[in-house]
């Protein structure tokens, strides 16, 4: 049996960020003078409601996080001037009521998939709302909501809302009983707060919650224990916290799918401030100004047309004042004289799609608005905020500037590391223009582009989840990345380089082990090669990154060196285009053996393996060429003619050369022997028929493209010396300005002449025979 409804209980079910609901809440507070105001919001923030009472400029959000071993869960409860929750907070406090949040904390599992606490819950119950949309002949629930609530007659609004939410919830429970499970934990918790409040006071209790929860809360509040609930404690080992962050209308509008709430915050802000007519008028002006600023023609006639359309639409739809879609529909019909590639965004839900008409994009952007909130200076912030500010100040990196850093200078190196950490944390406004990369280039300077942006502070506060200082936070992010990378060597080598740039090389026994495991498991020669390249670059440049003496990179180099040779020897494949990844891996092995002999297998043993690969008929030609080059560059002698013999077919030769040239470019150029590579290749190409040559040509071109022009002319000289024709190398390389089609035609003609001559026994050979 349920108890009779308590007269002191007043539940207002709202849609979050709805001006009409906010007004309803304000009226209720004035009318009821409640003793308690209970609001759907994180109950673990109740001790800190004072922070919300400071003089902030909205929008702001309560940002909550939970850091765990495996990652971080983050969620926001955004508040703006016209949020019913915000009005309940401020008006409730003014009227002397005791105000509290009654929902579960954001880290609770009930919020597992929810990033925006104030998203539309009924969005998850689409069937019910879809039926209503059909009934009222509107496009979607946003249009339905405006029609029924925002621009409808305020008289009887409370009852209308109650019926709306009862209907949606009721239908959802009969058609989708399973989907309410996550909501029910929250509702049980909220109901317990309500019962406790009703038991503690004789005065009215006003509850402001998502309308979707309202029917359930009314029911649950009637029955059950009346002790205040325990606010759940976060699980052991989890690091949780909540801070206020400045928010922006852009972010408020950017939630998509199940996370989204009311669209077009700028429109509703104006609706809240000035009413529907004024909002529509101001936005038409704003949109016209925006479009004209972009050189779009918006004539007075267009604006008159838009206005009469908007009014006509409002009247047709039974609105006494123009609503959001009346305004947008009128403007779109009057201003767009093209066919659209994408439907008008307000007829669908969700974010803009590519191909949306530019005029429509401007219109929706104007309705989104660009307001950003600011926090009162006394608002507590996570320690990271102070650390970042102090560091930027101390290192002279605040504001907007473009510093050039010399990494050999101690102070500049510290600056660089700080900046890299901030970049790693995803703080906007820190972009590196130029500097050392994971390749083998040696550069000791960096250029940065630093910009002081509005969205920096929120990002720093939100990064506070990762640690109290810049270095700790960066380390946490790196560790998360290691976990996420698993055995993906590419990602791991990225983390490796990132760790060096951030000055966190010591992190990382874990990283070393992870990479060693990754290398051992990795079957991809190219990935091992890129890890080796990165590790070798770091190891060689340890004076820059301060990684001297770190065993980490040495371990990686050793593991990668062994693994690369192992994989290379096992790699069997038919002829195919040269793959740069595996050639780079062989080149990395070459560099490792040259520059870090103590960490790799002995040069002779690597060369022996390479020679075996070079002679292996089952290996792909580019790998064989690369292996031949590797052996050669490590001091083994190269029998060019013998090595090339196995790959002399037209579909292999070019790829083989590509491999050879990539790994042993210097050796080829320095070659003076009479029977060298150039000679061998010349012989083979000379023996090819025209057709074969055409087959071989693309790969040959690619192979020779590895040489810069000056070195190509060196090879040309070698060739001329071999042939003894006396031409100059330059003329051989000069670009022929002849139409290739003409050349082909000439070749074809010659071939036909030869054919005819042969057929008629008129060639030189046949004459002699005669």
């Amino acid at each position: 049996m349920t108890m009779p409804a308590n007269d002191n209980l007043h539940v207002i079910g709202v849609r979050h960020h709805s001006p009409a609901c906010a007004r309803l809440v304000a009226d209720a507070v004035d009318r009821l003078r409640p003793a308690r105001v209970l609001i759907e919001g994180p109950a673990d923030f109740n001790d800190r409601l004072g922070e919300l009472a400071l003089a902030h400029t909205l929008p702001i959000a309560i940002y909550s996080y939970m850091g765990t071993e495996g990652g971080a869960r983050r969620s926001w409860s955004p508040l703006c001037d016209y949020s019913p929750e915000w009005v309940a907070l401020t008006k409730g406090r003014e009227s002397g009521a005791e105000v509290r949040f009654i929902d579960l904390p954001a880290w609770h599992d009930a919020f597992a998939e929810i990033e925006n606490r104030y998203s539309d819950a009924e969005r998850r119950y689409a069937d019910a709302t879809e039926r209503l949309c059909r009934e009222f002949a509107v496009d979607n629930t946003d249009a339905l909501w405006d029609h029924l609530v925002e621009i409808a007659d305020p008289g009887g609004l409370a009852e209308r809302l109650e019926r709306y939410f009862d209907l949606v919830r009721g239908e959802a429970e009969t058609t989708e009983p399973g989907s309410a499970v996550a909501d029910s934990a929250r509702e049980r918790h909220m109901a317990q707060w309500i019962r406790a409040a009703l038991a503690e006071t004789d005065g009215p209790v006003l509850v402001v919650c998502g309308g979707f929860h309202a029917p359930a809360l009314r029911r649950l509040a009637a029955d059950g224990p009346s002790a205040p609930p325990e606010v759940p404690r976060p699980p052991d080992g989890a690091d949780t916290g909540s801070f206020l962050v400045p928010y922006s209308f852009k972010r408020l509008d950017a939630f998509a799918g199940y996370q989204s709430g009311m669209p077009s915050p700028e429109y509703y802000q104006r609706l809240w401030d000035d009413g529907a007519e004024a909002a529509a008028g101001a936005l038409v002006e704003l949109i016209a100004t925006r479009l004209r600023a972009k050189d779009q023609v918006v004539s007075t006639a267009d604006l008159i047309g838009a206005r009469s359309l908007t009014e006509g639409l409002a009247r047709l739809r039974g609105h006494s004042r123009p609503g959001r879609t009346d305004l947008l529909d009128g403007l779109a019909a009057a201003l767009v004289s093209d066919d659209l590639e994408q439907p008008l965004p307000w007829t669908r839900r969700g974010t803009l799609t590519a191909g949306t008409h530019p005029v429509v994009v401007e219109m929706t952007a104007a309705l989104t608005g660009s307001r950003t909130g600011t926090l009162h200076p006394d608002t507590p912030a996570p320690p990271l905020v102070a650390d970042v500010e102090a560091a930027l100040d101390r290192l002279g990196l605040d504001g907007t500037r473009q510093p050039s850093l010399d990494l050999t200078d101690g102070r500049d190196l510290e600056r660089s590391r700080t900046l890299h950490c901030l970049r790693l944390l995803g703080i906007p406004g820190f972009a590196r223009e130029d500097g050392p990369s994971a390749g083998s280039d040696v550069t000791a300077s960096e250029r940065w582009d630093l910009r002081d942006r509005d969205d920096r502070l929120p990002a720093v506060i939100e990064a506070g989840v990762y640690g109290a200082t810049i270095g700790d936070a960066a380390q946490t992010v790196l560790e998360h990345r290691i976990d996420r990378a698993g055995n993906d060597l590419d990602a791991l080598s990225g983390v490796l380089f990132g760790a060096a740039l951030c000055g966190r090389a010591h992190l990382t026994d874990r990283l070393g082990e992870a990479i060693a495991d990754g290398v051992a498991d990795c079957g991809d020669l190219a990935a091992v090669g890129s890890a080796l390249t990165v590790a070798l670059a770091l190891w060689r440049h340890d004076h820059l990154f301060g990684t001297a003496g770190s065993d980490l990179y040495a371990t990686v180099i050793t593991a990668c060196g062994h693994r690369a040779m192992w994989l290379a020897e096992g790699l069997h494949a038919g002829p195919g285009p040269a793959e740069l990844g595996r050639l780079k891996a062989l080149a990395a092995v070459r560099d490792a053996v040259r520059h870090a002999p103590a960490l790799t297998p002995a040069a002779a043993s690597v060369a022996a393996t390479a020679t075996r690969i070079a002679a292996d008929g089952a290996a792909p030609p580019d790998l064989r060429g690369g292996a031949a080059g590797l052996a050669w560059s490590l001091g083994a002698s190269l029998d060019a003619a013998g090595a090339a013999a196995g790959v002399s077919t037209p579909d292999r030769l070019g790829d083989w050369l590509a491999g050879l040239f990539w790994v042993a470019r210097e050796e080829v150029l320095a070659e003076t022997a009479e029977h060298g590579v150039v000679h061998a290749v010349d012989e083979i190409v000379g023996d090819m028929t025209d057709d074969e040559f055409l087959v071989a040509l693309p790969a040959l071109r690619q192979a020779f493209a590895f040489f810069p022009p000056r070195e190509r002319s060196l090879i040309a000289e070698q060739l001329i010396a071999l042939r003894g024709t006396g031409e100059s190398a330059r003329s051989l390389l000069a670009k022929q300005h002849v139409d290739p089609v003409l050349v082909a035609a000439a070749h074809a003609l010659e071939a036909r002449v030869d054919e005819v001559l042969t057929r008629e026994h008129l060639t030189a050979a046949t004459k002699e025979q005669r």
């Binding site: 009934e135 359309l309 739809r317 879609t325 019909a333 066919d339 007829t347």
Partner: protein, 360 residues
């Protein structure tokens, strides 16, 4: 004895829905724009339907599109419906004309050979020779009639007309007057009566609206009609339309919903390119899907005497898909090989097995 009227293949909308229109007009209390047969609200209800009043939904699409279209017609701009072929633009224009004027037959069919004679007026030449240019000798065309009687004129496929012919609409649209220079006195000017407006349709495939003169463009409000966004809605529509078409063709079995589901899914995947960016060049509209479903049903009934199977789709689709290009045929083949093969249900496997029926 009453003679039975011969059955029309497709009566105009105002005849098909005469009862609904009469009922709406009788109950219509909202103010009507001057010259309109119904109020805006009633016209809208006629098109989007109302279950409580027993009115069927006649056009599947965003209700806001209907709102904008109707309000546009009540202003002094024309309405231009653009979109891919087969998105029911003509149906929509017919329904709107029937609701607004009670008559959807003042229709100009645009084409390369359309002349001003077919748009405005021409002459009865025997009378012209006998009497000279008199109102009796004048043969009014839809535009003349629409202006003189205050009704909505439909101009189908306007962009397929030569540009100078299109521009003959300029003064009827902006000054609301049509000059007949041959006639003297008051007959030489036809001033549009209230209720006159123009609904033009243009498809984006043949010749888009880009070539249309700017002067004419700004006398129209543009509305783009999109393919149906929602799978279930499109399936319902195809099912209803295909069943009706089959009934008219004397096939007593309605198409199986499972088979239609496969068909509609294939059309939607090929229409959107399914994220792979490989969309068909030919038109994969809902109307095409209905005609393929129709063909499938006919083939199964008259050639085999049974129900359609998913395999039949392939045969009939080849005609729909490949009428333009061999590339589309290749796209269809690849779709069947790679997508259809991965879907496990029986009908999808039928479809996959039937891939060999594709020509070439």
């Amino acid at each position: 004895m009453s003679r039975t009227e011969p059955k029309l293949q497709r009566p105009p909308a105002e005849q098909r829905y005469a009862d609904e229109l009469a009922k709406l007009a009788a109950d219509d209390t909202a103010p009507r724009p001057p010259g309109w047969a119904l109020s805006l609200q009633a016209a809208r209800t006629f098109i989007v339907g109302d279950e409580k009043l027993g009115l069927a939904r006649k056009f599947v699409g965003d209700p806001s599109l209907i709102d904008r279209a109707l309000v546009t017609l009540a202003t002094n701009r024309g309405l231009m419906l653009v979109g891919d072929p087969g998105t029911a633009k003509s149906l929509l224009s017919e329904l709107i004309a029937a609701a607004v004027s009670g008559d959807s037959t003042l229709t100009i069919q645009g084409g390369a050979s359309t002349t001003e004679d077919q748009i405005a007026y021409s002459w009865n030449y025997s009378l012209l020779v006998a009497e000279g240019p008199t109102p009796r000798a004048l043969v009014p065309a839809p535009l003349y009639q629409g202006m003189a009687e205050g009704r909505v004129v439909r101009f189908e496929e306007i962009t397929r007309c030569p540009l100078e012919v299109q521009d003959s609409l300029l003064s009827p649209l902006s000054d609301r007057v049509l000059a007949v220079p041959e006639l003297e006195g008051g007959d030489g000017m036809v001033f549009a009566r209230e209720g006159f407006n123009i609904i033009a349709t243009a498809n984006t495939r043949d010749r888009g609206v880009n070539e249309m003169s700017a002067a004419l463009k700004r006398r129209f409000n543009f509305e783009t009609v999109f393919p149906i966004g929602d799978f279930a809605t499109e399936l319902d529509l195809v099912e209803a339309e295909a069943a009706a078409a089959l009934e008219r063709s004397g096939v007593p079995v309605p198409p199986s919903r499972d088979v239609l589901e496969v068909l509609v899914r294939v059309f939607r995947d090929l229409r959107s390119g399914d994220g792979s960016g490989d969309r068909m060049q030919s038109v994969m509209s809902t109307a095409e899907a209905v005609s393929v479903a129709h063909a499938v049903g006919i083939k199964a009934w008259y050639l085999r005497g049974g129900e359609a199977a998913a395999g039949d789709i392939v045969d009939c689709m080849a005609g729909a898909a490949a009428k333009d290009s061999a590339e589309d045929l290749a796209r269809l083949r690849r779709y069947l090989e790679q997508r259809a093969s991965k879907r496990k249900s029986g009908h999808w496997q039928d479809l996959y097995q039937a891939r060999n029926l594709l020509p070439g």
